[in-house]
């Protein structure tokens, strides 16, 4: 404990003296920073178990079955069914950001593999809309602009053919705890060239972000992009508060404003269907969530439930081209024909990435 900083030392001293004091006085000594210190040590413990996103090699689903070997037969049955449809799983850390982190990695990975320029163009337009939404809601530019710029950079860098392009391994590295050592140079020089709304003096501002990647700080690219998604989600919920209000009331009994402040914008707050709907709508990205839980239907047969979050085009702007054509081909068939861009596995309290065969 000697090497901790002064504030903690203070808290320690107070803690010792409180042993003589009454119970009531103990509350005095639970200082905010002592509580937060404990919280971050819990996170650090979690970090040792699993990185932000899982290993380079995609894990086969059989490893999931092994996990539940002595568990519910319903789960084992469901995993068997999943194995028919999905090739692999990629785990994410259970730090409350797993939905956003899974979304980030899965989306960037899809772009990296498909090199779909049109999709990048499309989502960039939607990101621009989100930025305007936040401005119209009264957010100060300096609170969110870095996070937006950073996401756009990640998009640019997964497209090959420019010198900032990155490989699949680099994407994993960036999404994980360590940062890429030569990242900062191009970051400073290139950010201003395509993020047109950024003023010149803001470029130097970016040095902070670079430092965040390069240092051992837990706030690296991955965290900054998660925060970007939190901004986008919160903006969408607030913009369409009438639509989201009943769902939020059902979940938490909070107002839309309270919900965004307490359950969307702080890092580490877990995501629910409200978050997923809002993010999917705002960015126009269809998401499939496959549920691995112990529910079963009465008839006795086990099937794996899934829910497709299909973006609501009027608010989210354009849909991915593939999805739009699917709708057109399906005629009036509507949402069922839209192919999800991203598939996540939900186990109560946690999201991981699934890879279809």
């Amino acid at each position: 404990m000697q090497n901790q900083d002064g504030l903690l030392a203070d808290a320690e001293v107070e803690g010792i003296s409180s042993t003589q004091a009454s119970n009531v006085d103990d509350w005095e000594n639970f200082r905010d920073d002592a509580i937060m210190q404990q919280q971050s040590s819990i996170w650090a413990e979690e970090a040792e178990k699993i990185p932000f996103v899982g290993d380079k090699a995609r894990e086969p689903l059989s490893s999931l079955a092994a996990e539940y070997q002595s568990g519910s037969p319903i789960l084992l049955e469901k995993i068997k069914l999943l194995t028919e449809e999905f090739a692999a799983i990629r785990r994410t850390r259970g730090d409350g950001n797993c939905f956003f982190r899974s979304f980030m990695f899965s989306y960037l990975e899809r772009i990296l593999e498909s090199q779909d320029q049109e999709e990048v163009h499309r989502i960039t337009g939607n990101v621009e809309n989100c930025r305007r939404t936040l401005q119209s809601l009264g957010y100060a530019d300096f609170t969110f602009e870095d996070f937006f710029a950073l996401f756009l950079e990640q998009l640019e860098s997964v497209l090959q053919g420019n010198k900032e392009s990155i490989s699949h391994d680099e994407l994993i590295q960036r999404s994980r705890d360590q940062s890429v050592s030569d990242y900062s140079e191009w970051h400073i020089t290139h950010v201003s060239t395509y993020v047109t709304w950024m003023r010149k003096e803001d470029v130097k501002h970016m040095k902070f972000l670079c430092a965040a990647f390069l240092s051992a700080s837990p706030y690296n690219v991955s965290c900054l992009v998660v925060m970007f998604f939190r901004f986008v989600t919160s903006g969408e919920i607030r913009k369409r508060s009438e639509f989201f209000e009943p769902f939020i009331l059902g979940l938490t009994n909070a107002t839309v404003e309270q919900f965004c402040k307490s359950s969307v914008e702080p890092m580490g707050e877990e995501s629910d269907h409200v978050h997923i709907t809002a993010l999917s709508d705002a960015l126009g990205v269809p998401i499939r969530v496959v549920y691995l839980d112990r529910s079963s239907c009465d008839a006795g047969g086990v099937s794996v439930n899934h829910h497709d979050f299909i973006p609501n085009p009027p608010s989210g702007g354009d849909l991915p081209l593939a999805a739009a054509t699917a709708t057109a081909a399906g005629g009036s068939g509507g949402s069922e024909t839209i192919k999800p861009f991203i598939t996540l596995l939900y186990r109560p309290g946690h999201y991981d990435i699934l890879y279809p065969k």
């Binding site: 005095e28 925060m227 914008e265």
Partner: protein, 196 residues
């Protein structure tokens, strides 16, 4: 490393509408560090804190704006959620509910709102909280007395204080620098002038 460019923008933004909000943020004392600041909030009207000006000590941790700013009252205050001894504040947004979407100004606004709406069931100062719940009249009187005693001094205009101290026979330049160094507290300035 603290995001200094952002902190600078925050200070500009906050101090731009100081006339409307009454909330200001300055560098602390004579330090030149952007990581150690002093915020000032006026006590909300129709509360025992009305008429007081409360200084809040702000320290920005390395991870700001990912980590919350550390805030505690530098002005003594009698409130269930603020330690009457250390000035520590019990407020969710300064802990796990912090978000980079918040700013120093919105955090200070939340602290100001806390003055209007104490939450005695989630206390920082158990003695004050018990008094608040069991004997509100005494609580309100004490809080008002503390406001008068500790938070009033700074409402006197700086020029008035300078004038008063100069009339006591201290040179004006020294009075100004001393007042500055103690954050405008007239009594502390006098003490310092006498001892120096």
């Amino acid at each position: 490393m603290v995001d200094f460019a952002r902190v600078q923008k925050e200070l500009q933004e906050c101090n731009k509408d100081i006339d409307v909000s009454g909330i200001s943020i300055k560098l602390k004392g004579d330090s030149n560090s952007l990581t150690h600041l002093t915020g000032t909030i006026p006590g909300p009207l129709a509360t025992p804190y009305e008429g007081g000006n409360f200084n809040i000590d702000i320290v920005l941790p390395d991870g700001y704006p990912f980590e919350p700013p550390r805030m505690q009252f530098a002005t003594k205050v009698w409130h269930p959620n603020i330690s009457s001894q250390s000035g520590a504040i019990c407020l969710d947004i300064l802990k796990d509910q912090w978000s980079p979407a918040l700013t120093l100004k919105t955090a200070l606004l939340s602290v100001q709102a806390l003055l209007s709406a104490p939450e005695p069931d989630d206390p920082q100062d158990a003695v004050v909280a018990q008094q608040y719940l069991r004997d509100y009249q005494t609580f309100a009187a004490t809080a008002r007395y503390w406001t008068e005693t500790f938070a009033r001094t700074s409402t006197l205009g700086i020029e008035d204080k300078v004038k008063k101290l100069v009339e006591m026979g201290f040179p004006e330049a020294l009075v100004r620098s001393t007042l500055e160094s103690v954050g405008g507290d007239e009594n502390m300035a006098l003490e310092k002038l006498c001892s120096g």
